[in-house]
Each structure stands twice: as structure tokens, then as C-alpha cells.
Symmetry: C2
Subunit: 121 residues, 2 copies
Amino acid sequence: MEKNDALAAFAALSQPTRLDVIRHLIAAGEDGLLAGEIAERLSVRANTLSANLSILLQAGLVSKRREGRSIRYCAELDGLRALIGFLLQDCCGGRPELCQPLIESVGRASAPQNQNVMEGS
Amino acid sequence: MEKNDALAAFAALSQPTRLDVIRHLIAAGEDGLLAGEIAERLSVRANTLSANLSILLQAGLVSKRREGRSIRYCAELDGLRALIGFLLQDCCGGRPELCQPLIESVGRASAPQNQNVMEGS
DNA sequence: CTGTCATTTCCATAATTCATGAATCATGGA
DNA sequence: TCCATGATTCATGAATTATGGAAATGACAG
């Protein structure tokens, strides 16, 4: 990931509505959400949301596809992962031991209660 | 990490000079850099840099301590790690397998010799 | 074709961010 | 104390960003 891509991603994530949007989209899983659904859940006007979605799109953090009259947005996990990778490179570059504890703790934290990595879905 | 902390960190990292600052500080290691050294390396005026450093400080991404007439800044790796954790939580939450490949690739990428983090800045 | 729904685009306004010069603060030396 | 140095604070203007209303686009039904 280039520096400019990272800057765009950081800027996209630095606004409350947009951060909420991607969190909702991630939580929604692969099916994502329709623009209208997002607007209703977050209580933002359609045009405001549209502008924010376009910024997230530009930053490569979401994707969209038309579905009839609606437009479905999905979190672009590759984009998020690239951003995390950018941070990890800077943070851990040359000194992996610095972030190993973090990675392990996330591994634990993200395997909560009702889910078992071992059982296939 | 709270949502507001993450927003502050993203905003802090979304500006070219500030992103350069933390990258230089990380590369500088535990000794960090004096404010004047940073200003000279990045060719930014002292007062502009000071304002940007204060934003990074507020976001918990750097720390400072006085050293005679100068002030030494250091990257706050805990803050960076917290931010990465926030992203990983959102990204991988409930589905660790999504980010495992990323984590492993970073582990590999950060292993080789004394690679230079600064290239491309 | 006409009407409606979902979303986007256009435009104006309000708010925020940013870099700058001037002034100020803090430290250390003469 | 006085002065020089390193850094910060303050006030300003330029630029960017966010938001809302109105209009336009695209898709579908009748």
C-alpha cells in the first residue's frame, strides 16, 4: 500500500459517520447493506450518506453494486487488511517482537464465545 | 480503544506531514528525535511542526520529554498497537481466519535484515 | 410514456483544518 | 541579569470538508 492510499484510508476513517458505516458493513458480513438501510440505521440523510460512501469507495474500503433500484454496499476487507498491513509494517518493521503480543491478543479476542475456529461452518 | 480515540488517531495519521513524522520517529527507535531534528529532516517550519506534533501527542501516537532547551519526541508504540488492534477487532472480529494470512505475511515481511522503513516517504 | 422509489449530483453555506508570521515561553550560558 | 536558542502559542487568511435543499439519474411498475 502506497503512502497516498494510506492517507486516503486514514482520512476516510477519521469521520464518525464513515467509521460507523464501515463497522456496520463489516458486521453485516458478505451481504453488506443497501444504502437506504445504512441511512436509516445511522439516521443520516441520503445525500450526506452518499457523499460519505463515495469517500469510503474512493479509499477502497467499500464496494458497491446495483440491485434493482437500490445499491448494495459491502466492506472491502482487502482494503482494510492493506491498511492494517501498512501500519504493521511501520510499527513492527525490523522488530517483529514489538507487535507479536498484539497479534496474539487479537487472535484470542477475536475468537469469542459462540465460535470455534476448528469447526468448519 | 474507544471509538473517539480511534477517530483521533485516524485524523492524526491522515495528514502527510504527520504520517511522515511518526514514520521517522518509529525508524529512529527508542531514542526518538528532537523537535528541531524532525523539522529539519522534513523541511517544515518549527511552528507548523509543533502544531502537528501536538495533534499526534493528543492522539496518543507520540510522547515528549524535555531535554535541556530541546524537546525529544518518541513514537508511542502502544498507541499504534491499540489502533491496529481496533482495526483488527473490526476487521477480524468473529472471523479470525480473515486476517490470519495478513498477520503471517507481516511476520515474514518484517523479518529480513535492516530494511529501511523510510523509503518512499 | 408516466409516476415513483432509491440514490446521486449540484450548489450554497457553515464548519473545520492548515500553514504562516509575530509574539511568547522555557532553558542554559555569559 | 541579559541574551541566544529551541519550541510553543496566538491570530489570521486560505483551503478543504461537511451538510442540507433542490434537482437529476436510473430502475421498475402500470
